[in-house]
């Protein structure tokens, strides 16, 4: 049993809130889910946190609202299969977030769907040696 921990595979769900490289994600309400549907304005592939800026399209035809979404670090997203080209300005997306507790237009990343290709991106990655 001594070596059992080397055989185990751990999936680290970053939506659980412990996933920052720099700060706690506790300002996001992990018990809630909000889906932002809209168009990517900017995607910043930088440490310590990747950020995603989205013009959300309100259902009632009102003016678009700008939201900022915080992700983990480029290194951790790379482990989850992302590159800096995974999301580009102009992409149509649906993003699930844990919203900021204070109600402002921001949140912690949970899941992204690229509407045109139906590709799903998450920040979950395996914790084990020798990843492909």
């Amino acid at each position: 049993m001594k070596n059992s921990r080397f055989a185990m595979v751990f999936m680290l769900p970053f939506m659980a809130g412990s996933a920052a490289a720099h700060h706690s994600f506790a300002m996001f309400d992990q018990t809630r889910n909000v889906t932002i549907i809209g168009t990517v304005k900017e995607f910043h592939w930088t440490n310590p946190h990747v950020s995603l800026w989205i013009y959300a399209t309100p259902k009632d035809g009102a003016a678009p609202e700008l939201w900022t979404i915080e992700l983990t670090s480029p290194g951790n997203l790379t482990r989850a299969g992302w590159t800096r080209h995974s999301v580009s300005p102009g992409d149509k997306v649906a993003v699930d977030i844990a919203p900021l507790r204070d109600g402002s237009h921001g949140g912690g990343f949970k899941k992204l769907i690229l509407t045109d290709t139906h590709q799903v991106l998450t920040s979950d990655f395996l914790e084990k040696p020798g990843l492909p």
């Binding site: 070596n3 921990r5 080397f6 751990f10 680290l12 412990s18 996933a19 920052a20 490289a21 720099h22 700060h23 706690s24 506790a26 300002m27 996001f28 309400d29 900017e42 910043h44 930088t46 440490n47 310590p48 946190h49 950020s51 800026w53 609202e65 700008l66 939201w67 900022t68 915080e70 983990t72 670090s73 480029p74 290194g75 951790n76 790379t78 482990r79 900021l100 507790r101 402002s104 237009h105 921001g106 914790e127 084990k128 040696p129 020798g130 990843l131 492909p132």
Partner: protein, 249 residues
């Protein structure tokens, strides 16, 4: 003369043998993050009562969603927090008389560990990572670190932890625990906040795929966005921040 030549040959053969005796720690090492979290429960920190009260208050604040965060100012995590809580990868460089740890954040953080037989300086200038002297015991690198700034945190998460408040002493035993698994067995001595040495282990997993090579990580870069000045030059423009995040629109 022949005896001298023989002796020289023996030395010449011995030197590379010693160099080759160092273990292979190449590749990128990613922290076992879930285990970092688990070990706070299995290897509880022996905080003094006064420190424990502060930690309890900070933990309650974090649960309530009011994190200031320990590292949002982009100062280095330093020792021992880098080894304890980082979610970023690290790598080792071996050179004669020296092991260097390079990390992925804080403007590419680094630790210099001298293995050339020197002793600690009588009064090292305090720094975030301290003065580290190492030696090899077989395939285990034993590192003794002093001279750490009193402001450097002993962190249990990115939101909870206390400054060591001075006289910090960290002893580490770094060794392979499997072909691609490295353990850092830490003993943390912090007489102003701990009642006894805190012993815990942090685990790192080796990645050899090129996509895991360490990327530049400049903490303050997240406080800026690419922009352009009136001459058309590419510049960084500050982004208003709140608690280390871009301030929502």
């Amino acid at each position: 003369m022949r005896r001298l030549l023989t002796a020289m040959l023996v030395v010449a053969a011995w030197v590379p043998a010693v160099a080759a005796a160092l273990p292979d720690w190449s590749g990128t090492w990613t922290p076992f993050i879930s285990d970092q979290v688990k070990r706070i429960k299995t290897d509880p920190v022996p905080w003094t009562p006064a420190a424990a009260a502060q930690i309890a208050a900070m933990t309650a604040e974090e649960k309530a969603g009011n994190p200031r965060g320990l590292f949002v100012d982009c100062l280095p995590e330093g020792m021992p927090s880098w080894m304890l809580i980082s979610h970023n990868a690290l790598e080792f460089l071996f050179s004669p008389g020296r092991v260097t740890l390079l990390g992925e954040s804080d403007g590419n953080r680094l630790r210099r560990i001298y293995t050339d037989g020197r002793a600690h300086a009588p009064d090292p200038d305090p720094s975030f990572h301290g003065e580290s002297i190492g030696h090899w015991e077989g395939d285990t690198l034993v590192v003794d670190t002093v001279g750490v700034l009193p402001q450097a945190y002993i962190a249990v998460s990115e939101a909870v932890g206390l400054p060591n408040n001075g006289d910090l002493h960290v002893i580490e035993r770094l060794h392979l625990a499997g072909p691609d698994t490295l353990d850092d067995d830490l003993t943390i001595i912090a007489p102003h906040v701990l009642t006894k040495p805190w012993k815990t282990t942090r685990i790192y997993y080796r990645q050899r795929s090129r996509k895991y090579q360490i990327v530049e990580g400049v903490c303050l870069e997240g406080s800026f966005t690419p922009g352009m000045d009136s001459h058309g030059n590419a510049i960084f423009v500050p982004v208003p921040q709140v608690n280390g995040n871009p301030k929502p629109p």
